[in-house]
Symmetry: D2
Subunit: 239 residues, 4 copies
């Protein structure tokens, strides 16, 4: 077993609505996952999406569709350079942020790109998510984000989400001062454990795929399907 992760690259996109340099609760949780990655020598890249001018749309470069500017193409290069992608989002009204939805739309806008094997270009990568809110919605947000990632071609390891929310109702957010010298949520064993397991499961799955030279290419190549290959899929006329 290859236990060296130093050739892996991870990208964390924080989809907070709060722009720099204001503090982000979601970043506080992201940083804890990053600490594990960096302890293993993984090269970690970070994007705070709201700091960038990401145009609306589902095309690779919206400047070609009439938008005066669009930083997505440059951000997309960083997505494609990473073996591991983690989307972090706050919860507002039970839902992931509009910035997170925007990022997913733009990832989707590149989904027709194929790799050399004829697979969707995101194949061979792994994805996870980190969610924070003052109350309710981790699973609702996570199921949509993880679904989107696997739909694009990411592999999703076991327990690939983690998060923190407080008891029902308004209240402090993750990492806030608790008024007693501590910080809200940081001692939550469930959040800490899930964050740790998620991080390691991303590492393990990325390691396996990298050692394997990408996701195995048979039965899943768009180019070959379009050329008529059916990979044992039964012909309905013969049934």
């Amino acid at each position: 077993m290859n236990l060296d992760y130093t050739d892996l690259r991870a990208l964390y996109i924080n989809c907070t609505l709060t722009k720099s340099p204001d503090p982000s609760h979601t970043q506080t949780l992201i940083d804890r996952s990053i600490a594990i990655m960096e302890a293993q020598g993984v090269a970690v890249d970070r994007i705070r999406a709201v700091d960038h001018d990401i145009a609306p749309g589902v095309w690779p470069d919206m400047r070609e569709r009439g938008w005066p500017s669009d930083e997505w193409p440059a951000l997309c290069d960083r997505v494609m350079a990473a073996d591991i992608l983690v989307l972090g989002t706050p919860i507002w009204l039970g839902e992931k942020s509009s910035v997170c939805t925007r990022v997913i739309e733009r990832l989707y806008g590149n989904s027709s790109v194929l790799n050399e094997a004829g697979q969707y270009a995101y194949y061979g990568r792994v994805g996870g998510c980190l969610i924070t809110g003052n109350e309710d919605g981790i699973k609702h947000c996570a199921m949509n984000i993880l679904y989107s990632l696997q739909h694009l071609g990411y592999s999703v390891p076991p327990q690939a989400d983690a998060g923190w929310i407080g008891e029902a109702g308004p209240g402090p957010s993750y990492g806030d001062d608790d008024g007693h010298g501590g910080r809200i949520g940081v001692d939550n064993d469930f959040t800490n454990r899930n964050t740790t397991f998620m991080t390691w499961n991303l590492l393990h799955t990325a390691r396996m795929l990298k050692d394997r030279g990408g996701f195995p290419a048979h039965g899943n190549q768009r180019s070959e399907w379009d050329a008529g290959c059916r990979f044992d899929y039964p012909n309905p006329e013969h049934r």
Copy 2:
């Protein structure tokens, strides 16, 4: 690369509301995925959940909680014997079936079981889903099912869902006679391609995990976490 899949076992659970021997549209789609698996020599098991007396609850055996009967423990043995689990469900009012929800609840009821490595017992397995309806809801159902599976410990390969729905509004279901000598949906290229890709991606991921001797065990063992191991998770007091 090991291209032999004959040592793998797959289980398809059809969560239709229709009991045997009445036909199930969902089974029609399931059968097409199974055909690929069997062409590769995979041992395929099938359960139509509604034919079984599965008690409500989130405990491994509800007979110990006052229910007079419960077939789940026997079904659970078949779940644990399978490397690959595919849940199939119809869509009613945009939602997966109550039978599917019941199956997920019972899978969840076994989620505290650990394997010899101290991981959750579902680790090392892979999951996918197949969805049919006459209109609307594949992704909504799939995101919940896939989320539940990864939460339990299943790995989710790229594009691990497939399905068929018709245009908005009531209409025929998958596999129905189209009145012109054909069958509804079976020529849908998108459904056929997704079903094929899902099936192969389940095979590939199961192959990798089986060759690896299960999902790598480090940083994700509940037993070790509970014993105090933290796997590089940063101590908040030191931050």
Copy 3:
């Protein structure tokens, strides 16, 4: 303004997975809403769905579809007798219970019934929901339940859901002994306020609809639509 509610009838369906006589946390919250209704003289009916033999399916009486027994037709009479319907559900793995999904399927199975005005039979009624869990999922469950109810013909008042969950991770449930002589969640101001507002908004909307003789009948009668009436809907040929 008519402030007398004594002619109104409300039905609360508890969709807990726990059968009688075992205690239900969801019932604890339901009872608090019922207390307000009864203080206003509303006739309140209660169903604990898991205690009844409700067959799977989407037809009014599954005994006509091969099931040996089905208590839904009798339960449905109680649904139709009520001006107000509140579904209560626990959360398991972030989702409403299988019992709740079953109840919605069966409500849906009666959705083709029309009233004398030619509207769907559920028109003129109002709906809400109450959700409890030890962590995460109130809004996810509520959005599905309220969507289903409005789709069937129920009116949904403002803030028609309420619930309680604890901080992220396993923990005590609503109404559990807190070990200090109190009970978990019952002092949560947010839960109490939302439960109160929901209850009153159900009362107000039911009052308005009852005083009005049902939901106004124009532009929404299935029978007239099927007879060719278009109620000012523009003819696409003329556009």
Copy 4:
């Protein structure tokens, strides 16, 4: 019964990702609902959100939070001037658009405002939604949008959503030329009927609330709750 709707105001916010003057499929469906409104003399306002500079955040005016510009405060005035609010959105990857999520976040940012009765300021208004996509996701998007609206204080009439999608897989969008002299989807009886019923049910509910002078104020005033009124909510200490 007051059958005059000429004193009502409706606002349709189109949350397409496509900016003016490019055509929007979602607008095509919105226009059909508007035609009914205008035939009844309702004053209809229209916003295409993507044409406006709406800053990220959950505060009423993000210019006070460091953003150089923010058109939301002006748009919000138009929201508050309307008795009826309809959100229209396309579907991308099964989800409502990022523009729609942004609009909901900003609506939420005004949710602490109270009216003279002490209710949330959105009380007394009614909401609905219109969804278009080439495949899958009407109900998933609608359940989130309608949930958000009722959470804010909007009343949701029966069948307050409508939409169009095509069969599973990529394909033409609503209103596209069908190559045979017609337009895709515009003859879909289900879409037409739902759009009509939604529109009329919004009119009826808005009429009732306007005639009633707003949503009845008792048991739902935040100001009174905060002052200690409990409106028959049972005191847990006495139970």
